[in-house]
């Protein structure tokens, strides 16, 4: 309670109740609030709190760049320094969104510069970023510190060169998994010789060789470097040299780890790893076909996250490695480890919370992928599991029921049975029972991706039981409109719904028109929705953006790709010709 407020005589009395805290106190208190939800709540209390909140906000997260405009954002939050923006619908990652769809960062940067924002951090996901934008960014914001681009496109290594050249205070450069025009590795040499503020450097997915000597010098100078993820062109020998200069690393992504080393090189590498006592995350490790992971072992004791999703490891190799990682909480592997490898996970990783099993080269006839039994083994050994992404060849209802019985704390359950519409391979029934078990047992479930042969029964259960569900991904499932209607009628916390190749039509689409106000977005592709249905929705809900992507030569009345989202900025002004806003 504020003693000042109670005791001070005040003419406006009750009207000033909301401002009994002096502004200074308010600002200090608000500065401690980081959660966006909390800040939103604060801003709704009264006008004074709204103003106090908006002036003190430094970080804004925008889940759909078209839900708001840069003008609106900067008007409300004039002091933001860190911006996180997400652009295209998630299915763009799987080539379902045509190129030049939009989500260009350019207009945002122009407004930020015009409003003299002291931009320090920019984190973008699925946005289009041109080299000009990157250059503009590097020249317009002298305090710029952190750039993170994930699943973005539209730029080349020339843009990176501009960032390296002009951003004097850069601490973070994370270019993970982008559609980048990789012209050359010379961008790395653009960091000035006296530049030393780098803390995070991730160029793991770039293909061109960087100048190793320049990299080595950079790593030596940047004493605060914590995260280093290099690309495949860095050999084990070179990695050793880098490690010797940066034993303080907490996250490491190796290059081509496997190379036949002389025994001298081998022991030097091992001793370099031995000095890396702070390593929490390890990734890269591509080209690991035979077991040469032993030099790594000394660094594994404190590992929390091991990303082997680019390493075609087999079960025996994985088991040997896991024995050294008692603290592991997050493990990403390829299916090459097989069910036996997953048994080893179950036996060695009691603290595991996050498991992702990715498919290997999809065109290689691998006799061993993973099946339901691998997943079941993990569930017995890892009761703390809460996040799983599992690509498999076959699954049974009974297995899933067992899994969620063993691990009722799932928050993210993403199961991908790779053959669409595949039933339970033992009983030949639909996989309905599996997902019913998931939603009934896992009360904290926030994200669900379903697969296999599914009828409306699954969606009835989801609608009824998935009370915490925020994101639902559906493909090749359902029997009729009823399925989607159940989901839209239930799932009180639903935020994102993405559907492809399902028999849901206009009735389903229109049944949710009230629901869409609370959704960030809805994606429906190759379903049974028509243009008329979309037009009706747009008419009912004029404040929703209902966009249809037309493909050449497709049926005129069918709406092949529908993207519906709420927005305070109105219809897009930059929509390309193939996007119709209704």
């Amino acid at each position: 309670m504020d003693p000042k407020g109670k005791g001070s005589p005040d003419a406006s009395g009750l009207a000033r109740v909301g401002s009994t805290f002096p502004d200074e106190v308010m600002q200090i208190v608000l500065a401690l609030l980081n959660s966006h939800r909390d800040r939103s709540s604060v801003s709704l209390v009264c006008k004074n709190w709204y103003d106090a909140e908006r002036f003190s906000r430094t970080h804004v997260f925008i889940g759909n760049c078209y839900s708001v405009s840069p003008e609106i954002v900067t008007r409300r939050f004039p002091n933001i320094r860190k911006v996180t923006l997400k652009g295209k619908p998630r299915f763009a990652d799987f080539n379902l969104v045509p190129p030049n769809w939009g989500a260009d960062i350019r207009s945002w940067l122009l407004v930020f510069a015009a409003r003299n924002l002291c931009l320090e951090e920019l984190r973008l996901k699925r946005m289009t970023v041109s080299d000009e934008s990157l250059k503009f960014l590097s020249l317009s914001f002298p305090n710029f510190k952190a750039l993170s681009l994930l699943h973005c496109d539209g730029f080349s290594t020339d843009g990176l060169a501009a960032i390296a050249t002009h951003c004097m205070n850069l601490a973070e450069l994370d270019i993970q998994e982008n559609d980048i025009n990789d012209k050359s590795g010379s961008w790395l040499s653009c960091f000035p010789e006296n530049f030393s503020s780098l803390e995070v450097l991730n160029f793991a997915n770039l293909r061109n060789e960087v100048n190793f000597e320049a990299l080595d010098r950079l790593v030596s100078r940047c004493k605060s470097l914590k995260v280093l993820k290099v690309n495949k062109n860095i050999s084990a020998e070179q990695l050793k040299r880098l490690l010797v200069h940066a034993p303080q690393l907490t996250e490491l992504g190796t290059g081509t780890f496997l190379q036949d080393l002389t025994s001298c090189q081998y022991s030097e590498l091992e001793s370099a790893f031995n000095k890396c006592k702070n390593l929490k995350t390890l990734s890269g490790l591509s080209e690991v076909t035979a077991l040469h992971l032993t030099p790594l072992y000394p660094a594994c004791t404190n590992l929390i996250f091991l990303n082997l999703s680019y390493s075609a490891l087999k079960d025996v190799q994985l088991a040997k490695l896991l024995v050294r990682c008692p603290c592991l909480r997050r493990l990403w592997v390829l299916e090459t480890v097989g069910d036996k490898g997953l048994e080893a996970v179950g036996s060695n990783c009691p603290m595991l919370e996050d498991l992702r099993v990715f498919p290997a080269d999809t065109f290689e006839d691998i006799a061993h992928g993973v099946t339901e039994s691998g997943f079941v083994s993990v569930s017995y050994g890892c009761p703390r599991l809460r996040y799983v992404l599992y690509f498999c060849q076959q699954m049974t209802n009974a297995a899933v029921a067992t899994i969620v019985h063993n691990c009722p704390n799932f928050t993210h359950f993403r199961l991908c049975i790779m053959n669409p519409c595949q039933p339970d391979y033992q009983t030949n029934e639909p996989m309905d029972k599996a997902f019913c078990a998931v939603v009934k047992t896992c009360a904290k479930l926030q994200r669900l991706a379903v697969s296999g042969l599914l009828t409306d029964v699954t969606f009835e259960s989801i609608g009824r039981y998935a009370k915490s569900l925020k994101t639902l991904s559906v493909a090749f499932a359902g029997s009729s409109d009823w399925g989607m209607q159940c989901v839209l009628g239930g799932c009180p916390k639903l935020r994102k719904l993405e559907i492809r190749d399902c028999p849901f039509g206009n009735a389903a689409l229109l049944s949710g028109f009230k629901k869409y106000d609370s959704l960030r977005s809805l994606w429906m592709s190759d379903c049974k929705v028509t243009m008329n249905g979309c037009r009706l929705l747009a008419k009912e809900r004029p404040w929703l953006n209902v966009e249809v992507m037309k493909e050449e030569g497709s049926n005129e009345s069918r709406a092949n790709k529908v993207y519906v989202y709420r927005s305070v900025a109105g219809p897009r002004r930059d929509a390309p010709p193939f996007v119709l806003t209704l």
Partner: protein
């Protein structure tokens, strides 16, 4: 259809039960043709016979075909849009058989399924070499479609191939030294000091003896390496 004629292969019975010896020539012909796996298609049978003839000596020299390569070749051909009528494919654990029971989706070229990000696909395909499907078209990486410095190295008679980053070496000497140490374990059977020849496939698809061209030229055009025993090399 022409594809079937040229190669005398039943399209829907690709890998299992395949008699290597009978059909040895045909798939190898495809590989040696270079970037277009089905380049013999439009010219029909006769031409393909000629193609085979020209390559025969190399074939004899190189011996057995790598099963792995053939599997991948065949899968590329199957991907070229042939409707899949085969029932027993469901029993196979082959990931490219996205058989959907729905009437709407008959072709085997589903966009974006399974839901693996394009970056992950690219990384894996670079990593493993061989032929790649990029959702719509086939890109033969082993015939020089990419910038990748990674080159597959095989030794005659050894089932497991290795992969090296060719840019890490500066001369033929360093390359051969590394290869010798890499494959040393397989030499124990040939203690009599048999000689070896290093051959490579260039970006035109031709197999040549390594060492004739300057190093720089070599690394720009090499796509694959193979170590042959007893000094056997290709004719040209």
């Amino acid at each position: 259809m022409e594809l079937q004629l040229a190669l005398a292969l039943p399209v829907h019975n690709p890998v299992r039960g395949f008699d290597l010896n009978d059909l040895e020539r045909a798939p190898k012909e495809v590989l040696l043709e270079g970037s277009e796996p089905w380049s013999c298609r439009s010219t029909g049978c006769l031409e393909s016979e000629k193609c085979v003839k020209n390559k025969r000596t190399s074939e004899e020299a190189f011996g057995k075909i790598d099963i792995g390569d053939m599997t991948q070749t065949l899968q590329v051909m199957l991907w070229s849009g042939q409707p899949n009528e085969d029932d027993d494919r469901k029993g196979r654990k082959c990931r490219n058989s996205y058989i959907i029971n729905k009437k709407e989706v008959q072709e085997n070229n589903l966009v974006g399924w399974p839901p693996i990000t394009s970056w992950r696909k690219k990384q894996l395909h670079q990593h493993q070499g061989g032929q790649v499907i990029n959702n719509d078209r086939a890109v033969d990486r082993s015939a020089g479609g990419s910038n990748s410095p990674f080159v597959k190295v095989k030794m005659e008679g050894v089932l497991i191939a290795r992969k090296i980053n060719i840019r890490l070496y500066h001369s033929y000497q360093t390359l051969t030294d590394t290869l010798i140490s890499m494959f040393a374990q397989y030499q124990k059977n040939y203690k009599d000091g048999a000689s070896y020849a290093l051959t490579y496939q260039d970006k035109e698809g031709d197999w040549l003896l390594a060492g004739d061209v300057p190093w720089q030229t070599f690394i720009e055009s090499v796509r694959r390496l193979e170590i042959l025993r007893n000094g056997r090399g290709c004719a040209g």
